[in-house]
Symmetry: C2
Subunit: 432 residues, 2 copies
């Protein structure tokens, strides 16, 4: 190990208490982007992050994104952008993370208070956002601080981009990134996203592919307004009756997508690709732990094989999920309304070589055919709500090699090379 690197790691160890304290402060702010009443906490977390970034010497800007679409009474939290270093002789890495978190309540089954950082006897830390994504975001601040305190030159220029709406669909981010890709993020040599999932709990991983996502709405309408089922049940055709049938035709309980032609768009699996799946650290138990259940699609016999199948489904094949219905009764309790207009939402995770437009065409045709079979007088409209294309990088790129060597150095094991769900496509676009 070179001397500067040795000094760097010493400094990291020396700073471990302040680093943990920084995470503790961040976890204590319940910056839940999906809950309206927590919006002030999301802003508070943005302020905290900005001032911590300034404290380690970054040039920080808060970029406001206006009102939240569909919830105009709420302001979107700012994207915190920050630059560290401006040396033309160095490479420039753009870094993405998010400072909002998902909802969490002790009653949901947490063993500890979700918004208090708890440390167990093995030194593992628990708390909402500790891994997704406050920990990884603060990692960048920590690495800057350790370099400064150890008096070691920082090896790259960093352009950081930390948003506050990731857990609610990254509202406003796409536009922001499109605007800024040739401005704030100009000169980016590579992008690094600090927001992925390990396969297990022991081995780090590097993600080199992300599935795309085509998100659809199926709107079925009939009556001019919601009706009382006691009065009109039996004399009107009900949009919900049709919608559950149309949604029920899309995918079976084992995840097989029933839209003809869709699987033909998927790139064939080569032997070379199969080989990359060997040696990956994964077992069915990893999946069961993540799911919090054993309701996996594949059986738990022949674990290795099955795990590989499950993995390739997570990365390699498309999937279709039904997310919910807008316009119907969705609260607890019992309401006897016949909804006049209901909007089913589903999405398809896309993979190479599926072209988003081809997917749309097959989906629209199938949904319309299934609806026509019902012989309903209601009206159906199916539309694409948004589309993000899949992305696959070359895992032998210099940036992956550097990350892989660094991870192996720290963890003593080569990281898994993984693919993932479907996000961040707009951010990835800035690496050109």
């Amino acid at each position: 190990m070179s001397l500067p690197l040795e000094n760097f790691f010493k400094q990291v160890d020396a700073l471990s208490e302040p680093f943990i304290d920084r995470l503790r402060k961040a976890v204590a702010i319940p910056s839940i982007s999906a809950e309206d009443e927590r919006r002030p906490d999301v802003f508070k977390m943005g302020d905290f992050l900005a001032s911590e970034l300034e404290a380690v010497g970054a040039q920080v800007e808060k970029r406001y994104l206006g009102k939240q679409p569909h919830k105009e009474h709420l302001d979107l939290p700012p994207v915190i952008v920050a630059r560290y270093g401006h040396d033309k002789s160095k490479r420039t890495i753009s870094v993405y993370g998010h400072y909002d978190v998902q909802p969490a309540q002790k009653e949901d089954g947490w063993a500890t208070e979700p918004f208090e950082l708890s440390i167990d006897e093995n030194g593992r830390m628990y708390g909402r956002g500790s891994t997704d994504d406050k920990g990884p975001v603060l990692g960048w601040l920590n690495v800057i601080e350790a370099h400064r305190k150890a008096n070691i030159d920082f090896p790259v220029n960093l352009l950081m981009c930390f948003e506050g709406m990731e857990e609610y669909g990254s509202e406003g981010l796409d536009e922001f990134v499109r605007e800024e890709s040739q401005k704030y993020f100009a000169g980016t040599d590579a992008v690094c996203i600090s927001d992925n999932y390990w396969l297990g709990t022991e081995k780090p991983c590097l993600t080199y592919g992300i599935r795309g996502c085509n998100y659809y709405s199926v709107c079925i309408s009939g009556p001019g307004q919601d009706l009382h089922s006691g009065v009109f049940g039996g004399s009107t055709q009900e949009p919900m009756t049709d919608l559950v049938r149309v949604l029920g035709s899309l995918v079976d309980t084992h995840g097989a997508i029933e839209i003809p032609g869709l699987m033909d768009l998927v790139a064939p699996l080569s032997d070379e690709e199969i080989a990359t799946y060997s040696g990956i650290s994964y077992s069915m138990n990893n999946l069961y732990e993540s799911l919090g259940s054993t309701t996996a699609v594949f059986d738990n016999e022949q674990q290795t094989l099955m795990a590989r199948q499950a993995l390739s489904c997570q990365w390699r094949y498309p999937s279709l999920s039904i997310h919910g219905i807008e316009g119907a009764f969705s609260a607890p309790g019992a309401k006897t309304v016949i909804p006049a207009k209901v909007i089913g939402k589903f999405s398809i995770r896309t993979v190479p070589d599926m072209q988003p437009d081809d997917v749309d065409e097959l989906v629209f045709k199938f949904v319309k055919e299934e609806f026509a079979k019902l012989g309903s007088k209601n009206t159906l409209e199916v539309s694409l709500q948004h589309s993000g294309k899949w992305w696959v990088a070359n895992p032998k790129h210099w940036n992956y090699n550097a990350a892989s060597r660094a991870a192996e150095h720290v963890w003593g094991v080569k990281p898994d090379l993984t693919r993932e769900g479907g996000r961040f496509t707009s951010i990835l676009s800035i690496s050109g």
Copy 2:
């Protein structure tokens, strides 16, 4: 016309401005029981009603029902009970109505401001609650006031019961009525519900039957918590996939209930009963107007016959409506969550001679069988959320005769005798 009656009608005409003004004030209070932020307006409307009742000489009490189930941050609005007259030689009529209204917004397609009483060139009044149910409720105050001002003895004792949660499932009312049926409402000779629907817009109607309602929940759960579809789509079985299929098996687009044996529970249609449907004022256009669309179950050819069929479906046969799904994404926009636990809600309107328990048995068996067919690893639970039995009265009872004569006197036409949806069964129980 007897002299007192003549004086009474003169007084009604003389009071028409104050009567309209009373309705105007009531419509202006947006007492929407289904919207949390409008709850103070529901209370305000309760206060207004109570003070108006006092002003006409009734003895008023506000009966508070505690917190709202599933929404413990909200107080239930009080039931306003009021007595007018306490003369042992007279009959006692218990009267029901509600002072809450359904949501309404100009954007929903209103031609006028919903919370402003508007009067058109024909003297017809528009405004949320003008017919459902503030107008009918205030009718009782008006009739008392006109008697008093005309100095005519009121012919019966009135026990009034006006609730503020009808449009949100009459939360708390059942218990209240059960408690009070032998206390506050003791001595009731007949019940009068001022909250029904005319078939058209010209002819009044008297309702002598109400369908029952069995309300069911189907809960399907799998993963331990909500999952990200990008990460887990394709490797977990998804409760929503199963739920839309189970809900899709219940009823077809034409309203035919697919639960075997259910229709066998319905009383056969006798010739005598068929005869009662003749002479009813109704056309398909009445139905289309109410629906705000032409998406009726039956075609519009042979209007009379079809109208009769549609009517008997509204009154005479069971229907099944799917109301919505709890636990899934239901807001506007796009969220890519895989819900871990979803609860489908549907209800069956029941008619003579369906026994609620028999219906439960058939429903539970069918839902479990349909779920079993899927071969899913998820878990299903189906349960009855609440049950209200159908009710049919004798339309030749003295109270109907009196109402019919009174309606004919005012409108110059015999009122339609109708049956309706499914509500008020608890109130009806107090007439013994």
